[in-house]
Symmetry: C2
Subunit: 318 residues, 2 copies
Amino acid sequence: MTKTLAEIAQILNNSNNIYILTHRSPDGDTLGSGYGLCLALQKMHKNAKVLNSDNISKNFLFMKEYVIEQEFEPELIVSVDLADTILLGEKLSVYKDKIDICIDHHKSRYEFAPINYIEPDSAATTEIIYLLLTEMHIEITRDIANCLYTGLATDTGCFKYNNTTVRSFLIASSLMNLGAECSKINRIMFDTKSRERLELEKTVLQNIKFYYNNKVAVVYYTKNMVEEIGATDDDTAGIASIPNQIEGVLVGVTMKEDKERSGYKISLRSSGSVDVSKICETFGGGGHKNASGAFIGKPLEEARETIIAEIGKQLELY
Amino acid sequence: MTKTLAEIAQILNNSNNIYILTHRSPDGDTLGSGYGLCLALQKMHKNAKVLNSDNISKNFLFMKEYVIEQEFEPELIVSVDLADTILLGEKLSVYKDKIDICIDHHKSRYEFAPINYIEPDSAATTEIIYLLLTEMHIEITRDIANCLYTGLATDTGCFKYNNTTVRSFLIASSLMNLGAECSKINRIMFDTKSRERLELEKTVLQNIKFYYNNKVAVVYYTKNMVEEIGATDDDTAGIASIPNQIEGVLVGVTMKEDKERSGYKISLRSSGSVDVSKICETFGGGGHKNASGAFIGKPLEEARETIIAEIGKQLELY
């Protein structure tokens, strides 16, 4: 059932022991939503805690340090930024049938909780949490503002992506006014590269190949490369956006070796009208029009030829 | 003399033939301010034109296409985003004593016009033009909004830099509401790299060196490298931000060969407390605390040793 934010605010106001669940491989938005809400509830002298399946990447650890660790049994379980209970991850999967309220902004999703507040036009779930806290008449402190700003900035690529709305800017303005340390957070999120990330970028730029009159750019990295560099998952995140940033490129392809499955995970990025989800669907993958993925169980050269051929077919349509 | 925006609005309202001067090597803010204001004046059936000393880089050409080319003698000359008349460039230097109104946001500057509106806390001059057009009760069309947004986004690094204010977000929100095509503009300004730029990045990443326990990172590029790649000034812009983005680096150094002067232009970038302007001042250069420049008239190795030694002295203070 869909409830209004006012109704959800009331339920939260009436509960004293609240668990907040984030999605696996937690990002800035699920953590910003979780810790922002948790902090607000703790300020109201309620018991509240954020539960994560996976470790928090070091860029986001500052949010965890804002809250007090509390041990208690929950009377209410809320999920934030969780599109599907499968995304709870292994550790939190025990809660998959126990979520009372689901707060989210994902478009493609199913209802797994009795109470839902889903706003697909919201750039980030932290936008919704901002509105919820306003509805609850909770003072948004600097720390809460930092959490909410982190979600908003990371999910919009610092207001660069086309999910940014008039309201995103208004909320950003309000959060900055409330003390959010925007430029400090931006520096951590957007202007800091690890040495390992730098090495990985050098490596993939060395092997970049262009096809179809430079309309398609392809990079790859193997498990060996990652291990030699000592790169972590944090370091590999976002590599897929590199080939699509090159001028004139309509489809950017990033191939990541999956040794266990003897093949390559393919990430496609496009800008404008090319629908890469259709290309990925032919390999049993999928995603969005401008960002999709698939798996091809072949060695490097063959996998590359296979995906390039399929992209060629699709490009003919444009 | 400093006037209020209302007074400047009135002067513009009473003038019918207006020249708008931008600064040399025109960037998004001077052009966005110039064409935004020009469009507004032309909509009021006035004669207005933007004058640039140098060619407009292709990313910004769309703004020029919004205005009608008009030939007329000026009765009023306005400069936008111009901190010093020396920055008019060669072609516009004839106007250096003829500027009637100066609208700008630069901090270190001298007054060269009889009428001034300087707001150093404004993230971009287009913020001031936005307020001016509001004061003039001019409808901000989609095209004007695109110009103003371009200046705001480019001068704030898409709201990433610490010059971004609560008002910047509010104005961005308003411009988007007025139809500014933000994500299209962002894609052009921030997510598009030329092949030449990509090659230049590969080249400088190959020669990166670290000093002082990885607190200082140094890259360089020579005139030969630039010529071999075929890189333009557009392609070299922003290279200086690369070394400072690496985790743990306190000072990022970029050395660009200046063959005519037999040496290297040094760009220093720092984050946080290290004041690189002091380092540059010892070589007769200068700038801001976190972004400064100087020239060292020595060959590569010697120039590098010289700047590294000076940075070492400064780092001891932290």
